[in-house]
Assembly symmetry: C2
DNA sequence: AAAACGTTTGGTTGTTTTACCAAATAAGAA
DNA sequence: TTCTTATTTGGTAAAACAACCAAACGTTTT
């Protein structure tokens, strides 16, 4: 593996890692329906405002979302919506894994 | 978000997290061509045998790979190959992100 | 049975991540 | 201008992760 390949795999892993946290994945899924302000996301999750903000900044630096300030609020939306297309496959992984997990799909 | 939804998003995040490490992502990509034994993976990467083994066990517990012992060797293969289908999208995220990253694709 | 091989496991240490709190900032309302 | 409101930033402590080494394990080979 040369330096360029290494840098590429690191960059890709970084995107997956950004999505690899329940709160961040949930947020990305929320944004599938369209942009949301931070306050809307905070409302629907049991977490501190600052925690949510930090998670969003991780998604942002990974290139998953972009933000736009309008008035007092900051709106986030998916930058590259295709990232949610692989959820069915992820669910297939879970399905294939353990009996206890299969229940999650029902 | 109820308990079941929460458990599902956690399970999905766990799969993404497993792939969210350069070494593990690289391994998963290697396995796209077919099964490999641990030694073959170790050979092609600059890491300790035990480190590789631990990464593989993380991929295994996430449901990404399965292993099979044959003789002295343990062979790993992708359990649900579709997980590599989303690499083009991940690359699109990288493309869309920063000028410096675009070079990685060339 | 002993030695060698391929792999996993346990332990340790340093690094990273996470969550919360408090303080700072920026914009709109009073 | 002062006062909220919405969000980010900085700090800190606890938990999780990663890499290496050494030891243990299960198979084959001798």
């Amino acid at each position: 593996m040369n330096a360029k390949e290494k840098a590429l795999v690191e960059a890709k892993a970084n995107v997956l890692k950004a999505l690899g946290h329940p709160t961040r994945l949930w947020m990305a899924e929320q944004l599938a329906d369209g942009e949301k302000c931070v306050c809307e996301l905070v409302e629907n999750i049991d977490a501190d405002f600052s925690t949510v903000s930090k998670h969003l900044s991780i998604l942002k630096q990974a290139g998953v979302v972009i933000d736009e300030k309008r008035g007092k609020q900051v709106y986030y939306r998916l930058k590259v919506p295709c990232i949610l297309q692989f959820m069915p496959c992820i669910e297939a992984v879970i399905q294939a894994t353990a009996q206890t997990h299969i229940d999650l799909m029902k």
